[in-house]
């Protein structure tokens, strides 16, 4: 009964939104009838299928092939480019990868005002997307954040709960294992902030050798208590198993542990690190495939579609005009607003991933970080 209702509600909402936009979608001349889209798999890809590609295929009959290779997208695109055979039409990547692909000439530069839809009130996309347009090749979709989750049932804490990100470094008050990513990015920033560096001076300090040493010295204080993760699914799993008491991961993953799996876990939004995720179009696509991609993007990045995606996963839409349209979760029926990383109450302290800085210094800092880890 409940399932039936849900299905009804879902189809109704699709029908309504689908109908409202059919007339707006420009006709597609000389377009390929299938598309290979590369994404991350899991709940995130599922949200894209439900919010973008299913309604689009219903309207146009386009066939979608999903490839779950986003975490290796840059290496694979480079190999495809060298082989002269691009088999992907549209690739979902994180901001830093988009910058990298653009630098290497593997992603196409796009004029968002030319190929994307305006906001309902007529605001041009370049304004509507604003700061999320981090590279001339990048078409943003979502804002996500890397933040901490902690278990709410740790006996050794005697009823205390972490309220600040720096509690990660407090093993006296909050004993137990923590999970951190096996990469320097974000860990270095967090360590320095908890070592007393002001947010404004962060990257000036990191540019010096002493700054990195200082961050590693701070991380040294908890090194024995850390399990280092490399896949986004690790921390949620470790939290659910009780292997760790707190750990960093993507906010959407924590949402599914808390809201969908009902685990005794809570979010600590303090000093979450914002990142963007979005589309890039590989360079060198034949015209018919490129036309199909542009037509799809016009649909999939409009204000309503980006807001729709937030029904399936707790990542914030990259368009300002989409925020007011974010509603309830499609299956759980809970209000999604408060679970968005961009919700004002979650944004008291935050950092935005400094892509420019990391693209220049990551090789160097990574070598130091890995050498430190190995010892």
């Amino acid at each position: 009964m409940k399932l039936k209702l849900l299905l009804l509600a879902a189809t109704a909402s699709f029908a309504a939104t689908g109908a409202a936009f059919t007339e707006d979608l420009p006709a597609c001349d000389n377009c390929a009838d299938s598309m290979t889209v590369v994404s991350w798999g899991g709940a995130y890809q599922n949200s894209q299928v439900k919010a973008y590609s299913d309604p689009y295929s219903e309207m146009t009959g386009t066939k979608f092939i999903y490839d779950e290779s986003s975490n290796e997208a840059v290496a694979k695109l480079r190999a495809m480019n060298e082989a002269g055979n691009i088999t992907w039409d549209l690739v979902d990547v994180e901001g830093p990868d988009a910058v990298r692909l653009c630098d290497e000439g593997l992603a196409m530069e796009v004029d968002v005002d030319e190929i994307l839809a305006k906001a309902p009130d007529g605001t041009p996309p370049s304004e509507d997307f604003g700061d999320s347009l981090i590279s001339p090749c990048f078409i943003p979709q979502i804002v996500f954040s890397t933040t901490f989750g902690y278990r709410t049932d740790v006996e050794a804490w005697n009823g205390a709960t972490p309220t600040s990100m720096c509690d990660i470094f407090d093993t006296e008050k909050f004993p137990g294992k923590r999970a951190l990513e096996k990469r320097p990015k974000k860990n270095i920033e967090w360590a320095l902030i908890c070592d007393g560096v002001a947010k404004a001076d962060l990257y000036d300090v990191m540019e010096t050798d002493e700054g990195i040493d200082r961050a590693l010295a701070k991380l040294d204080t908890i090194k024995d208590d850390v399990i280092w993760w490399s896949a986004g699914a690790d921390t949620p799993q470790l939290l659910a198993d009780g292997e760790i008491v707190m750990g960093s991961t993507y906010n959407g993953r924590l949402f599914s542990v808390i809201a969908e799996q009902n685990q005794p876990v809570a979010m600590l939004w303090d000093y979450q690190v914002f990142d963007f995720d979005g589309w890039i179009i590989p360079t060198g696509l034949p015209e018919d495939r490129l036309n199909r991609v542009k037509n799809f993007l016009y649909f999939a990045t409009d204000t309503q579609r980006l807001a729709d995606q937030a029904k399936y996963i707790s990542y914030g839409p990259a368009r300002a005009s989409s925020a007011p349209l974010v509603g309830k979760h499609a299956e759980l029926g809970i209000e999604m607003g408060p679970h968005m990383p961009t919700d004002p109450s979650n944004m008291k302290n935050f950092i935005v991933n400094n892509i420019d800085w990391w693209s220049s210094y990551s090789d160097d800092v990574d070598a130091k970080f890995q050498a430190w880890l190995a010892r």
Binding site: A75, W228, S360, Y361
Partner: protein, 444 residues
């Protein structure tokens, strides 16, 4: 039996040919001492021809496989390894600058002349049009952090510069006025580089010449050493665990040994990822092994053992995964050892241990050799298991290679590390051949 009166002459093809017509009816030694076939051709030549034909036929039979391997395996590997020294990008992207920089003395303490800057501006404008300037920036960033940002930021502005170019560039970003920037460009100019190999052994070339990297950044030599060490530990533990099982397999009655064999092969046929994940469930602190030990009262719940995300985890999981590669060659060698040897030894008065150690064990050495070399070479290049259960102290050099291939995209460094690893394996193989002898290795 010499025909005619001519004395025996030394073998020579000339003599053979002269005699051919007169010896067609004979097989065997002819008058001049040459063995001949039925048709009178010298046996040696006829044999060689037959052999050649045979060889050609077998060559044609393996030709498809050879072509396949060359095309899909050897050539890509050679291409990948060549990347470890390849450095054409600088000359291709900024050819005029490279030429102009030849006359600049990097140790003079002065910036390159206006001429160099003019050449650079021209090169840069062209590179910007082809969108290759950022690619060059990424390449130079391996030598000097900050270069990729400098090239990206200068972008369009540098293409619109008017003379004097030197001041113009320094206006865009003061890094263009730094000596080190130009030294890096000059150092990176040759079309071949040893930079990746130096980086792969924790060394670097700076303005002060060749030197080791600062202590805090050294990692690769240490990882090579650890990979070797852990591989040896894994090989030894595979041998210790596998030898008794292989012995049982070879000596139990068929029905029981078949059952045992299935137990060995079943995990062998199971997906690697499934087995590795299973070890995660078993070994973690809230896992099956720790829970059992706590329940039995052997350890306290506050002092649970750390069996995973460290070297212990890597050794346990990889020993289990590679065990069949040790057991199977051992088993096939043991199967061929006749039990009568040990019986004979015992009848001659040897006790159990002497009979095993002096008679049985030496005959299994070829199996040990085969198993050990298989396990060692497989484990030295292992990637996925250390990645999943190794934490930070249990990862191998291959995990860094994978990181440079797919994340940092420094394929040159990955290729250099891979070449060194390949060289190490070949070297060990050579040493092994010298000590054990590769002919003594038996897979069955």
């Amino acid at each position: 039996m010499w025909r005619g009166g001519s004395p025996p002459r030394p073998h020579s093809s000339n003599a053979g040919e002269k005699m051919t017509s007169t010896t067609t009816d004979q097989i065997g030694a002819s008058g001049d001492g040459i063995m001949r076939a039925a048709d009178g051709t010298p046996l040696k030549r006829s044999l060689a021809r037959a052999l050649r034909r045979e060889k050609l036929r077998s060559f044609l039979l393996i030709l498809p496989l050879l072509a396949f391997i060359t095309l899909t395996f050897l050539m890509p590997i050679a291409d990948m390894l060549f990347r470890s020294v390849e450095n054409g990008i600088v000359q291709e992207t900024i050819p005029r600058t490279v030429v102009a920089l030849k006359d600049w003395d990097a140790s003079s303490g002065e910036l390159p002349s206006e001429e160099v800057f003019a050449a650079f501006q021209q090169d840069f404008t062209e590179a910007f049009k082809n969108k290759t300037h950022t690619r060059l920036g990424l390449r130079l960033n391996y030598d000097e952090p900050g270069m990729s940002g400098l090239f990206r930021k200068s972008g369009r502005k540098a293409t619109q510069l008017e003379p004097p170019y030197r001041e113009g560039f320094i206006d865009i970003d003061q890094d263009w006025g730094k000596l080190e920037t130009w030294r890096v460009i000059k150092r990176a100019s040759p079309s071949l580089t040893d930079g990746y190999f130096l980086a792969a052994v924790d060394a670097e070339r700076t303005s002060d010449g060749l030197q080791m990297k600062p202590e805090k950044e050294r990692i690769y030599l240490y990882l090579f050493w650890r990979t070797m060490f852990l591989s040896i530990v894994i090989t030894v533990s595979c041998l210790l665990l596998g030898y008794p099982i292989a012995y049982l397999l070879a000596n139990l009655p068929l029905r029981t040994s078949n059952l045992l064999m299935i137990l060995v092969l079943l995990p062998f046929w199971t997906s690697l990822l499934v087995r590795t994940s299973a070890w995660k469930v078993l070994l973690q602190q809230q896992g099956v092994v720790n829970d059992t030990l706590v329940w039995l009262g052997i350890i306290d719940t506050t002092s649970r053992l750390e069996l995973i995300n460290n070297q212990t985890g890597t050794i346990i999981a990889m020993t289990h995964i590679l065990l069949p590669f040790m057991i199977l060659p051992l088993f096939s060698v043991m199967k061929t050892i006749s039990p009568s040897y040990v019986r004979a030894a015992k009848s001659l008065g040897a006790n159990d241990w002497t009979a095993f150690w002096r008679v049985y064990f030496p005959q299994t050495v070829p199996g040990i050799g085969a198993g050990a070399i298989l396990v060692f070479i497989l484990s030295i290049g292992y990637y996925i298991t250390p990645e999943l259960v190794g934490g930070t102290s249990g990862i191998f050099i291959s995990n860094r290679i994978a990181y440079h291939i797919s994340t940092s995209l420094n394929w040159g460094l990955a290729a250099a590390l891979g070449t060194i690893l390949l060289g190490l394996v070949l070297l060990l193989f050579y040493v092994y051949d010298k000590i054990v002898g590769i002919d003594n290795v038996k897979l069955g």
